[in-house]
Symmetry: D2
Subunit: 389 residues, 4 copies
């Protein structure tokens, strides 16, 4: 498809993820030797003026409000979907059918049905050499990649238990206003899909096991919140009306994993004081791994084969030349939130250039969606064990 | 009962807890001004020679192998039960009926039925001025007492979520031998009752809420272990035979609390690298509390009413004069595992002298037992929500 | 000078700092609304082929090996000096005299004499509206800026003691080869100027006090190291010859500060296990501040006016909207090593556009150089107290 | 001397150290199998009533106000000196001459002259089988003993740098009253002797190297403080008069060690927020050790021979059976401030019973005193390098 060595990109979405992905397109080629040169061709949004402003701010050559037209263009090789979850399926399937590689933000979709259709489309496209990847970017936090490497190399032995919690606190104030993220029609679910999805993917990625059964519970602590007033942009007055929160505020679930391990999960936006606390602990028969996204450059590793009396959790500062994605700065100079997006892009570009199936695939995204769906079904059925399917 | 100012004690049990409690009887009167002076009158065990040795080592005036005879003595005021859980009910009830005050180690009993009988006996005895307490000693770790004080004073607002995990790793080696603790007949349960009980009691103590419903899961990772060979004491040879582990190795459960909060619990002896990790996080509408028994002199407190931009978890080093039980050493000089037993004894002695009902009561111990029982029932019923009753 | 709204940049140097500064020019305009748009016009190096490759990799429009010719060009507004320290004075003075704004990496120069000439030139240029800044980028780590803000607002009261250590370990292996950084002629000094300079600047920046007298000690632990063999790039053989290390491996000094505080400093490349450990503690009459560059998104703040019994070091996760330079990502999403270079650039561009004197100035750079010089003189004089002048 | 298997003890002093040592006499025999049984025979103080109260509270059989008479008694085997430093020399020398073993709290004396006389007396007594030990109890914190063991076993290679700071904050309030500890006549020195002595001893103990030269600085931040009013015990009124602080508030010094290492030291009572922060870092050619007394059950160990990419500081929880003095409780159950006094007593009792020279000896105490003295002389001589002699 790319007769030259460029990879011409259309980005769908202009928000937080759009900015994060733009940074990757801008930066990754300056640090990695990529086999294809990404070109920031066009960015797509709903509002013409805002999208034009985003194009200028983020560095895209063109702006558009018509994603269908963009997908139809010959000069686009990769479609990067950063729009809200309810739009993923339609765009991704259309893009794949149009012969474009697709990078799609997580969660893959808002429902299993949509996700399944997307995975079907991705498999069909793959047969034609079209690549697709779902954006679980935390897999490419070097410390988390290193965790996977250590576990897969057997350094902690047989995995028995995993503990994963994603703790945030931005809903603690019960007078904070409604947003689309609290509306089930738009967001699909609340903490479960937004951050719980990361917890599930991370545990599965590190352990190499998949969640097969779940028992779960969902809770909405604050069921009504003030609506934003009409014309906020002008008058700034807040509405007296209140809206109904239709998603979960927090989710708890236990999972039985394919390799025999048990994992506990917790996702919440009410963990006062925790800002971005994706905390993962993996306990094996010979060692353990501990990770906290709030200290993303560190990995704790307990090696149970160290001499007796000398065992302890090692704080590995994951900035050494031996560590994954170590192209940035000398030892000891840490990375930030945004860098895993560059790592993700790097791997995707190589996969496209070399004709490999990217990971995580849409099938992987579907499987996570199925786990989330099983949690919702279990929660609705009195927490009973529910198979992931 | 105590015509003089002494409190004459009979201790039942000579093991780990016997040693810990002995240290409290020995030490507490040297640091606290107690209204009654404990006398270490007699220690009771099964084996005459071993019990005599324990008496000398631990500093008890007499040794006995007949707890019934000891309880019948006029010169005993307090019976301190440190024997295995399956013996608690019989001894405690007999002692209370004989008019002795009773301190009973946790868990109160191995079954709800036993615990209920004990609580009934304690209530009946209380009407006659006889006092009883169950030994959830961690309540008297100063940092944990401070956590309770802060939460009860409203410093974290309305409690919404609690996370409690008790992580140990002494069963990680699958070739480690069977012990009585892995035999359901003797131990009642595994991690659930042994350490999960502490997690439940701690969360209830700090929040002031009780667990009303649970959804739980139990797992035994290693189902067979080598038996200790015959005559190990002489030949040192290990047995080729293997025994069956009949208790849980790990337990996970979610609880709905009386005040509307949700708590997650996890107890395991397979958390490689965690030695005594009772980790508790309490999230409220205005703040949060974090505690880890491996750093028992510290409490983390997040005050959501601090100025914006200056909020953060404070590491309070709980050794100040303002802190609970601050009689030991100057500021900055930490306590160890054993000190909460002295705090517990101090409070019990004051309660006895001043005619107050000690806390935690046998009813509190029964309630914890009911929570554990509900977890077992839920786990047996496919994790379905199960009322605590 | 900039008749349009662009700021046309020439960068001198293609190494580590060249890459870091290039990232700032590339990224800062995408996150900050700058009054002038930087243009990456030309990069200057010694070797034509390497410089051309650097231009392509780092994104500069042109490459040159003639810095004098570049400085003479009309289409250059800002000269960014990232070359080794022994070249700073000549280039900076020439650029300022040519009417170019100058950003110069730290240390300002290798000697006080050079630094003084540069500061003189900067003052003279300032009278003509030409701006200059020395690149102590750590001042713009948000946590460190916040530390300064808190201290300057009086939140820790009167500063009494500062402790600053910059601990690295990349010279621990005594068979590691000689580099130009270990040659006094090229590098000026060793740990003292390379990383000790950051410690001095940080303490002065946060406290607002300057070091007035020092007592210091320097030590070279490994005095000979293997030279790199001839033709390493081809044959990979190492040389049997050894070179002499002529700079300090580590430096210790105590400083008396202008406001009455005392500061201790330590800089070393032999602190095994410490990768980039710039650790700063500031103790005042009402509070304290603790910072560690290895956890650059965190600041610890002890508020001595908190209620008795509730005092403790707060871990502030410096990613809130209230925090300095908070334009990047939502709360809880940390920054990396490179971001302070963007903050520095942002401030410089505003200073240029609005006609303000940038900070830190060349005078500030000179003053740090004088401190380092006084340390060397004290160390040569048996550690005697030596005035900074 | 002890014809029976008892060790009859006279304690001189009834304050903080008296209470700490009493706890050791009370507790150590219950956990260690000692070859001699300590008997708490008599406690000596200045005030008859207070000493009698202390005897009852702390558990001594008798009280006395005449230390000379006590030393003359035949039924005393060991004299434990816990009185202020200005009394150590006279008592210790008299006791040794009377044929009593002596345990003397640190610092050994207030002056080098006194310490030298004591060391001479100890050597003379040793020839007659009389044992003496100076109470640097922190050597027996298990984590610190383990640090010594690891370093002496070569696990961190050749020691190059040590960093030791003892940070407290109890003088931060400038309106806090005068105490005898701020009066040079009584206390000898301030932070230097009180806590700096621990830092010096700890570094020398762990590294096995002695400080040979020092360059130091002393500072008194608050030179006047309110005197306590007359009759405070009755009237509670505070005095309007102010007293002069004649000791150092803080001390900084650099030491050259006998094995070629360099150590930095800092001792202060003005480190706001630090309660008992004895922080020690030892960097060697193959690894490093980090210890903090505020987390006394932990030792951090960096093993530079771990595989590349897996290196990191290990947090060893020093409660394993393999660890020093591991008789107390099972793995994971931490010790407190007081336990090292029991360890010290245990070792002393074995030394007495088995005829070995205890460590640290009075010569060791003298050497520390000489280091402190050299710091004072260097500080008075403009920080010039000053030999320890």
């Amino acid at each position: 498809m790319t007769s030259t060595s460029t990879l011409r990109v259309a980005m769908i979405g202009t928000g937080f993820m759009g900015a994060a992905h733009s940074q990757a397109f801008r930066v990754a080629p300056r640090f990695f030797d990529l086999p294809l040169a990404p070109e920031m061709t066009v960015i797509v949004g709903r509002d013409a003026a805002k999208t034009q402003a985003a194009a200028e701010k983020l560095g895209w050559a063109e702006a558009s409000t018509d994603w269908r037209a963009v997908i139809a263009r010959d000069d686009i090789d990769l479609v990067d979907i950063c729009s809200p979850g309810d739009s993923h399926a339609e765009i991704a399937i259309a893009a794949l059918e149009a012969g474009k590689h697709v990078l799609c933000e997580k969660p893959l979709a808002n429902t299993v049905e949509e996700a399944r259709a997307m995975a079907d489309a991705a498999r069909a496209a793959a047969a034609r050499g079209i690549r697709s990847m779902v954006g679980f970017s935390y897999r490419r936090v070097p410390a988390l990649t290193l965790a996977r490497d250590l576990v897969q190399a057997g350094r902690i032995g047989e995995v028995r238990q995993a503990r994963a919690a994603y703790l945030q606190d931005w809903l603690v104030d019960e007078n904070g206003p409604m947003t689309w993220r609290l509306d089930k029609k738009l967001a699909g679910s609340g903490s479960l899909g937004d951050i719980g999805a990361h917890a599930v993917d991370s545990v599965q990625f590190i352990t190499g096991q998949t969640v097969e059964q779940v028992s779960g519970h969902l809770r909405t602590f604050v069921t009504e919140r003030p609506l934003l007033g009409e014309g906020v942009g002008l008058s700034g007055t807040a509405s007296d009306e209140r809206g109904i929160v239709t998603v979960d505020d927090a989710a708890w679930f236990t999972g039985q994993l394919s390799g025999g391990a048990v994992a506990s999960f917790e996702a919440t936006r009410y963990a006062t004081g925790r800002k971005n606390g994706l905390k993962i602990e993996i306990f094996g028969s010979r060692g353990a791994i501990v990770f906290d996204l709030e200290r993303m450059n560190e990995l704790e590793f307990y090696d149970g084969t160290d001499a007796a009396g000398e065992q302890g959790f090692r704080r590995i500062f994951v900035t050494e030349p031996e560590h994954p994605y170590a192209v940035w700065w000398p030892t000891g100079h840490g990375l930030g939130y945004e860098h895993p997006f560059s790592h993700q892009l790097r791997d995707l570009v190589f996969d496209i250039a070399e004709g490999r199936a990217p990971s995580p695939s849409f099938d992987d995204g579907l499987q996570v969606q199925q786990v989330l769906d099983a949690v919702e079904r279990s929660a609705a059925a009195n927490a009973v064990w529910t198979p992931v399917s």
